[in-house]
Amino acid sequence: MAAIATSSIDTSTTAVLRHPPSQPPSHRRPEERRSQLLRQYTSLLRTAPLMVLFQHNNLQSVEWTAIRRELNQALRKADEQQVAEGRNLPPIASRIKLQIVQTGIFEVALRIVECFRPNGQTARLSGAVDPPKQSSAEIPDDTASLTHDLSRVVHDSIMNHKGKHELSTLLTGPLAIISFPHVSPEHLKASLSILSPKTTKFSAPTRKANPGYHDITVQEGLQKLMFLAARVDGEVFDIDGTKWIGSIEGGMDGLRVQLIAALQSMGSGIASALEGASKSLYLTLESRRSVLEAEEKDTPEKGEL
């Protein structure tokens, strides 16, 4: 009887999934919009190594449209320039997105991505491996082992980090971000020259080159858009740092070239310094030898005399 009971429990635990595979139990209900936004923001933060934060103050939809139009144009130009220079990078103009985010949810997503690290991974594994212990009593344990972004574990652990992230002081008020799928200084420069040419000193397109940019709609919209900060590979950059990244010529390859040049010059410097010591030693020894030789020559002459 007991054997039958245990076997039935075993089959139930193995056969029945406690939750749908695409909907593991979560702290907040996944049907809600904020849960979905949180999912999207964590994904955005994980896949966008470069993003720039702006504050937007009551931009109208026509202004957004006009700004996005100008931005797309500039980014496509940057793509073309990349191709013309012969660097085989994928065109990313269509993947760069300027979007409004819900500040509060974005802040939470940032904390999840940057602050949460599971320390109980071994515990989760042991719970999954041991089959006879998986009874109804252990269901809360099972949910406790889940560490997806909406899970209770993650929610509880990031509660302590509220306001401790270095971006958290900036994350107030209406927020818009522009996200790049990889760190591309050219595209950053192109977008900043459209969105905030005055603060970053990247020259905006001239009236002659691009009359659409000097449209009153675009200009009024840009006045209401304020540069806040940039986030590059998890690091926060202010205006000067962002300007520096945007001014890297030739993208990551250009940076590598600069590094190699620096290393080479440093190497040659070291070599010349090391050589210099040995050279001076050689020279002193040589001079000493010549002096000695001269003395030796002098002495026999004296002996003869």
């Binding site: 749908p20 909907q23 593991p24 999912r39 999207q40 994980r46 896949t47 966008a48 190594p49 993947r95």
Partner: protein, 240 residues
């Protein structure tokens, strides 16, 4: 050279049509069942008006070969326009791997009703080999696909009663299955964190960024569609 040939070809055909005393026999290839093998579509939709279609169908080689021997006086003059037949024959060795039906529209046929552009010459059919290869397989998969969608059952061939019964059965089956969770109600990570990834997998490349971007927009769209549906539903219920 080809034009000249075509002209003589046409002339001989026209001559034949006027002279022929057996119009019923001339029309026969159109109706004959062995012609059906050559085009999956009914001939009338593929070919321009009837006098021409009658003429074209005659020049299909196997149609000629399968002509009953009791009509020699017609098959004799028809055999004279050789070029079309030879072109069809010469096409086979070039493409021996894929054996497909030849088009019912011969090269040089004026395609009526396709001349959409103003001040442009009429659209003229090309050689079979000039069309892309996927064109010939367009109709092959459609039946199979529709069958696979409805579980190997062709609903269009059912009677009304059978269709109703089938619908009820499928609804019951769908009820017994667990609910399919829409994209905007899932709680699984879109881009899993590194600590949730299986061993040996890393994230952070551009393809993943592109993928996640697509998924995010899909979620937004799915949520939007659901919202619209619910609004419509509530509006309808309020109107009752």
């Amino acid at each position: 050279m080809i034009c000249q040939r075509c002209r003589s070809n046409l002339l001989s055909r026209l001559h034949l049509q006027h002279v022929s005393k057996y119009p019923s026999l001339l029309q026969r290839p159109v109706l004959s069942p062995n012609l059906r093998r050559y085009s999956s579509l009914p001939l009338k939709t593929m070919t321009p008006p009837s006098p021409q279609s009658g003429l074209q169908s005659i020049s299909i080689p196997s149609a000629i070969a399968s002509f009953p021997p009791e009509a020699p006086q017609i098959s004799q003059p028809i055999n004279t326009p050789a070029p079309v037949q030879s072109s069809v024959d010469s096409e086979d060795p070039t493409n021996p791997v894929v054996k497909r039906d030849s088009s019912s529209c011969f090269a040089g046929t004026r395609l009526l009703g396709l001349n959409y552009m103003k001040n442009k010459p009429d659209v003229v059919a090309l050689e079979d080999s000039d069309y892309p290869h996927w064109l010939w397989g367009l109709l092959d998969g459609s039946e199979k696909q529709s069958n696979s969608v409805s579980g190997g059952v062709d609903i269009s061939k059912m009677t009304k009663k059978e269709r109703k019964r089938h619908g009820k059965k499928m609804a019951l089956l769908a009820k017994s299955q667990p609910r399919k969770i829409p994209l905007h109600e899932q709680s699984i990570d879109i881009t899993p964190a590194p600590y949730n990834l299986p061993e040996g997998k890393t994230n952070g490349d551009i393809t993943q960024a592109v993928e996640s971007l697509g998924q995010r927009s899909k979620i937004t769209k799915s949520a939007r569609a659901a919202r619209r549906r619910s609004i419509k539903e509530s509006n309808f219920l309020r109107g009752l």
